[in-house]
């Protein structure tokens, strides 16, 4: 089985700030990490090839330094890392990114054989869009299974996969056709630490590097040109302000007077769905 994992290198979001004069995001000095959801995607892929055999290709589109994110996944045990990097990819939104990744998967299949399963994190923690995975699936015409939490079974001869996925009000169990694309939740597994052997291998093995030409991308559909959306401005949200602080004999009563007027509180306390199941 050949599994492709799509990952992204992101800034550690807790540290991100805005330069108030230039109105741009300050990236200098901010540590880069593998998008946490993507580590879960990698872990899921590794567990699946341990069970069903095969190899794991980890792909990322990004600047040259995104190579370190690939090496981190290779150290965990991924068979190969592919960096798709090109100046012309800059300023890509999710539409252009999903095009680029779909073209990369086509090239990957030429070089390393058909892909049976594509796994992505549910979303990247910098953009939080959750749109790139569905975009890639739509472009490749394969089934997209978002919010996957567990793979119950893969039948390689029937080309089917049975998966649990998390929906707003419960867990759905579905069967889909391979090849399929999964996007995974963060808490589905515990990403493994790299072994010493894995780290040594990840240092020695080359990372495959492709660009717009080698994946045969249409210049009109990548980067800025292929991106309909554009950021007009960024700003820091106003800080949350604390509400009334109540003391004394009637504090609880007064506090509940406040929250019983709140739409969200009313929703959970009087709503049909209720807060949970244990009423």
């Amino acid at each position: 089985m050949h599994i492709a994992v799509l990952i992204k290198q992101v800034p550690d979001t807790q540290e991100v700030k805005i330069d108030p004069e230039k109105n741009t995001i300050v990236r200098a000095g901010v540590e880069s990490i593998v998008n946490p959801f993507d580590l879960n995607a990698t872990e899921m892929a590794l567990q699946l090839v341990e069970k069903y055999g095969g190899d794991v290709s980890v792909l990322t589109m990004g600047p040259p330094q995104a190579e370190s994110a690939l090496r981190e996944c290779m150290a965990m045990g991924a068979t190969r890392g592919v960096l798709i990097t090109d100046r012309n990819f800059a300023a890509a939104d999710t539409l252009a990114t999903s095009y680029t990744l779909a073209k990369t998967i086509e090239r990957l299949e030429k070089d390393f054989g058909k892909v049976d399963l594509i796994i992505c994190g549910k979303q990247a923690v910098d953009g939080d869009t959750a749109q790139t995975g569905p975009g890639v699936a739509t472009r490749l015409g394969c089934d997209q299974i978002t919010y996957a939490t567990e793979v119950d079974d893969i039948n390689l001869s029937q080309k089917t996969i049975k998966i649990k996925r998390r929906l707003a009000k419960g867990v759905q169990i579905i069967q889909a056709q391979l090849p399929a694309l999964l996007t995974v939740e963060k808490d589905i597994n515990e990403p493994r630490y790299a072994s010493l052997r894995g780290i040594v291998r990840a240092i020695r093995e080359p990372v495959i590097e492709w660009n717009a030409a080698t994946i045969n991308a249409d210049p009109e559909q990548i980067g800025f040109k292929g991106s309909p959306t554009w950021v007009k401005r960024i700003f820091t949200p106003p800080p949350r302000e604390g509400g009334p602080k109540l003391e004394g004999q009637d504090a609880v009563k007064q506090a509940l007077d406040v929250v019983f007027e709140n739409i969200y509180f009313k929703e959970v306390i009087f709503g049909e769905e209720g807060g949970a199941c244990k009423l």
Binding site: P11, D93, D128, T138, I174, W230, P237, G242, K245, K253
Partner: protein
């Protein structure tokens, strides 16, 4: 075809369990405001089986036209079938703007639809407006984990698509006297698109505990109540209001909750509707994991506890005193 051929603000009405998801009506209210600024109309699209009956609710909540794609083949949501129907309606009626609720289903659908249409799509917005000069849609959304807000627009192409977070826009007051058009669109389900089979659905109602990141109400304990007696009171409150128990690190260290119920930097980030912070001082490591909760009710004996700076309402006092009173008051006010 020029951009000016695209008119109207189209809202996706999500139906599940034979009920319209409220975010659809919230978006109709918002669409009305945008359409008024643009001098356009509001339309709605409903896809499903036996869904025509919801058209009048859409009209009374602000839609001028309702497109219905109704067929037994759309009984269950499947990305491929729904996106095909959606794309056909958009290509035929050419809306300027398309709004979809940022529910799990809405976000699954919107990514597929926008990709086929090659349309700009902005995810999970919390604010919408029209640019006075260009008349383009301005979508504002939190990014970088909520540390930064970004306003996005479509530099080219139509329609302009956004998914919008539920419960952010105000529900419109329905006007039952409004009239509108209902247009039935037939989009047949291609058997080739039925590659996904739904085998089973396990509702949260049937499960003992739900993961804290999916709970609507969380009762969180901290150092101040990290004892078996404190835990008992937290459970009692959880039972009354229907919530799940979680906490800060001391609750885990004292063995009262498992580590997958820890909230904060080294635990989980949660955004429930209601978060009770009991005996939690509110160190930054905890705040980053819960400060986006819709309602925060904090109880602490220290009047200067940092948690009070983010709380919707704060009670200065001991949990021993406060929790029994809260339980009593809630029972009284809800008749439980």
């Amino acid at each position: 075809m020029s951009d000016s051929d695209w008119k109207d603000v189209l809202v996706f009405i999500e139906v599940s369990d034979d009920k319209v998801q409220e975010v659809g009506f919230e978006l109709l209210g918002e669409a009305r405001k945008l359409a008024t600024k643009l001098g356009q109309n509001v339309s709605a699209i409903i896809i499903g089986y036996d869904v025509e009956k919801f058209a009048k609710d859409c009209i009374s909540n602000g839609a001028d036209t309702v497109y219905i794609v109704d067929d037994p083949g759309y009984k269950d949501y499947l990305t491929k079938t729904y996106s095909k129907a959606f794309v056909q309606v958009v290509e035929k009626f050419k809306p300027d703007i398309v709004l979809i609720g940022a529910t799990p289903l809405g976000r699954d659908l919107s990514g597929a639809v926008a990709t086929v249409l090659k349309a700009g799509l902005t995810a999970d917005c919390t604010g919408l407006d029209i640019d006075d000069k260009t008349l383009k849609l301005l979508s504002t959304r939190p990014t970088f984990g909520g540390n930064i807000m970004a306003t996005i627009y479509c530099q080219k192409g139509k329609p302009q698509m956004s998914t919008v977070r539920p419960k952010v826009m105000k529900m419109p007051d329905p006007d039952l006297s409004r009239s509108g058009k209902v247009i039935k669109e037939h989009v047949s389900v291609d058997p080739k698109d039925l590659t996904v089979k739904i085998l089973q659905f396990i509702s949260d109602d049937c499960r003992d505990q739900i993961e804290i990141e999916h709970a609507k109400v969380l009762i969180a304990g901290g150092r101040g109540c990290a004892s078996p007696a404190g835990m008992e009171k937290l459970k009692e409150l959880a039972k009354t209001i229907g919530g799940e128990i979680c906490g800060s690190r001391p609750m885990v260290e004292n063995g009262l909750i498992p580590s997958n119920r820890q909230v904060g930097q080294t635990g989980k980030t949660v955004v429930p509707r209601v978060y009770f912070a009991v005996g939690i001082s509110g160190a930054i490591q905890h705040l980053v994991g819960m400060q986006n909760s819709n309602v925060i009710i904090a109880i602490n004996t220290d009047p200067n506890a940092p948690i009070f700076k983010v709380a919707t309402v704060s009670i200065v006092g001991s949990w021993q005193n406060a929790i029994p009173k809260i339980i009593e008051e809630i029972k009284k006010r809800t008749g439980r």
